[in-house]
């Protein structure tokens, strides 16, 4: 176990000294900040736009980190031949793969934590700086129709920034929640679980192919996995149009079976996507059965099981590899 942790920490060190990581992180944070600005364009519910964009960014940038950092982790060890000294040490190759996997996962989770922190802070900041709220805090009505400014705008902004950051931390650790952020942390946790699957795939592909190919394979897995529900719906529609599966022929049949096979070999990541529920699925406006719950054990077990299986497969391939 100590050796796995040592490899994981070294992997984390390698990743945080990689410039790509910072580029991605800064870009994600910029998008979240930008979402607060453009949310004013939304007439009905600006905070929904921030939530939607923010949650999507956390998921997507988590995926990008898994791909751009993940596919190089094993490759670099082979390319720079550092693997030679590693395998000659008294460690098991499985320990090496586990260390790489947990190191990458830890890197991604630290980044998700930073993005989530910014995301909640932006939400709280946006809430406290809405026009009506600000007016209430900046001016006091001394007599009917007479308003006096009680504090400077900039002092208020500064206070709000620190307050939002505090609230954001509170929400992340589950000690502070308002209607605004209810359920969002659970959505992030489910996203994090789906990213564990993607991470295991990035490591898996890189045990036997080049970084470019691994990146392509991992991306395809992510895309097909995220669109699973839609692909199934598309396949069903094809079958329906032909009047049953047995009536499918030619290109249609190929499309149908290709879709079905693709959906069954990649993980169904749409199980983990609980954004719709948290952003739009307030119980008073929609029937609860339309949306899955925010957290459920079946999906958690599915996620962990899938990840474990792929990591096992990766280590199986790696155990039997020759390093030229």
């Amino acid at each position: 176990m100590g050796k796995v942790i040592a490899i994981a920490l070294n992997t984390f060190k390698e990743a945080v000294r990689n410039k790509v990581l910072y580029f991605l992180l800064i870009f994600a944070i910029l998008i979240m900040a930008f979402s607060a600005v453009i949310s004013d364009l939304s007439i009905s519910s600006p905070e929904k736009l921030i939530k939607d964009l923010g949650l999507a960014s956390i998921d997507f940038f988590g995926f990008l980190i898994a791909v751009f950092v993940g596919v190089y982790l094993v490759y670099n060890e082979l390319d720079r031949k550092t693997i030679y000294t590693i395998v000659s040490k008294p460690i098991d190759r499985t320990q090496f793969i586990l260390g790489k996997f947990f190191g990458l996962l830890f890197t991604i989770y630290v980044n998700i934590a930073i993005m989530t922190f910014v995301f909640f802070a932006v939400l709280y900041f946006r809430e406290s700086t809405a026009y009506e709220v600000m007016i209430k805090h900046l001016y006091s009505e001394t007599s009917p129709g007479h308003f006096v400014m009680v504090q400077s705008e900039w002092v208020y902004y500064l206070k709000t920034i620190f307050l939002s950051m505090g609230k954001s931390l509170g929400t992340m650790f589950g000690v502070y929640t308002t209607v605004l952020t209810a359920g969002l942390m659970k959505v992030v946790l489910m996203s994090a679980l789906s990213l564990a699957i993607i991470t295991s795939f990035a490591i898996f592909y890189s045990t036997f192919s080049s970084p470019t190919l691994s990146a392509v394979f991992t991306s395809l897995t992510f895309i097909i996995g995220s669109l699973c529900e839609d692909i199934v719906r598309y396949a069903d529609k094809l079958a329906e149009k032909a009047g049953g599966i047995s009536h499918l022929a030619g290109a249609e049949a190929f499309k149908y079976w290709f879709a079905i096979v693709a959906v069954h070999i990649v993980p169904n990541l749409s199980y983990f996507d609980r954004r719709m529920n948290a952003v739009y699925g307030a119980p008073d406006i929609a029937a609860p059965q339309l949306f899955p719950p925010l957290l459920d054990w079946q999906t958690i077990v599915y996620g962990i099981g899938y990840t474990a299986a792929i990591v096992c497969l990766a280590s199986l391939i790696f155990r039997n590899r020759n390093f030229k």
């Binding site: 100590g2 050796k3 040592a6 490899i7 070294n10 060190k13 390698e14 000294r17 720079r80 031949k81 550092t82 693997i83 030679y84 000294t85 590693i86 395998v87 000659s88 040490k89 008294p90 460690i91 098991d92 039997n320 020759n322 390093f323 030229k324």
Partner: protein, 330 residues
């Protein structure tokens, strides 16, 4: 006890099905390369064993198989009396690969600490050992806090050697430990190898710097094109007697020089000095007696044994021709 023992160890590389070579696609249906063929080696405890051979001879392949970087196609090997893959055995081995390139984002001390953890050493043991090693391999004082990307090639080789000694190993395996080093660096590595032997460790290393190998090795094996050409100690391989005699005279008579010309294999003249290389001791004795009686002065007499390099070149270049002629005869 045999520290390393290989039996009929072979490695055949199968090429990738499809390859890009000089910008063109190349199909490699069933294309195979034999890197090592039925190698039988035996390295005894406490000796310095050199694995020698030209590029592509299979030296690195042998070491990689022993270190489990590659798996053999057939044959078997035992280290410290156990089959490959035993973790308890690996804990007693130190290994330095060829042209080591380590994690350049780590500082010297961080790097050794990481590898120490892989050996399962305690924090206290690691700290103590790392300090010792920086001194042992002769790295400068600022090296522990310098990122490896700032290390020179020689420094990398030294820290590579340090990581191979972390666990105070019984067997040290070094793949081309002197490549890329200047003469000073080569000498220092040589001294470290000798001090390891003094400490009772077995050193197994590959090299193509034959003069150094000759100086320090107890025994050597010579590989060529995947096959073992020779194996043994220096006396076995090179013989104990002198192969030729170098005699240097000054003030040698021209008439005398002409008369001994047929006896000498080589004659070199520089100013007043004449160097003659003679193949037999009797010729040398006769020549010296005659020259001295005619008033020449003997500057030096050196009996010369065959060098490992001469032996190596003879063995390595003889084999393919011999095989060819055998093949033609068949």
């Amino acid at each position: 006890m045999s520290v390393i023992e290989t039996r009929n160890l072979s490695k055949i590389y199968t090429h990738d099905f499809l390859d890009v070579e000089n910008g063109r696609l190349r199909f490699n249906f069933f294309r195979r390369t034999t890197a090592l063929e039925k190698l039988n080696l035996n390295v005894e405890e406490g000796e310095i064993f050199g694995l020698l051979g030209p590029n592509g001879a299979g030296k690195s392949t042998t070491i990689k198989i022993l270190m489990e970087i590659l798996f053999p196609s057939s044959g078997s090997a035992r280290i410290l009396g156990r089959e490959l893959g035993n973790k308890a055995v690996k804990a007693q081995i130190g290994f330095l690969p060829e042209n080591p390139y380590f994690y350049d984002y780590l500082k010297g001390a961080e790097f050794l600490d990481y590898y120490g953890q892989l050996y399962g050493m305690s924090r206290k043991a690691r700290r103590k050992r790392i300090d010792e090693l920086f001194t042992l391999v002769g790295l400068p004082d600022h090296a522990p806090n310098l990122a490896l990307k700032g290390y020179s090639k020689g420094m990398l080789q030294r820290i590579g050697l340090a990581q191979s000694l972390l666990n105070d190993p019984r067997l040290v395996v070094l793949d081309e430990p002197q490549s890329g080093l200047d003469p000073m660096g080569r000498k220092e590595i040589r001294d470290i190898i000798l001090s390891l032997k003094q400490a009772g460790k077995t050193v197994f290393f590959s090299s193509h710097i034959l003069s150094d190998a000759e100086l320090i090795c107890d025994r050597v094996a010579i590989l060529n094109r995947g096959r073992l050409v020779a194996q043994g100690n220096m006396t076995n391989l090179l013989g104990s007697g002198a192969k030729e005699y170098e005699v240097v005279f000054s003030g040698l008579d021209k008439a005398l020089l002409d008369s001994v010309r047929p006896l000498a294999r080589t004659i070199l003249q520089r100013e007043d000095d004449v160097l003659l290389i003679l193949e037999s001791q009797t010729d040398a004795d006769a020549l010296i007696r005659q020259a001295l009686s005619q008033g020449a002065r003997l500057v030096s007499l050196t009996p010369r044994r065959e060098t490992l390099e001469e032996y190596f070149i003879r063995e390595v270049s003889r084999k393919p021709e011999q095989e060819k002629s055998e093949g033609a005869a068949a």
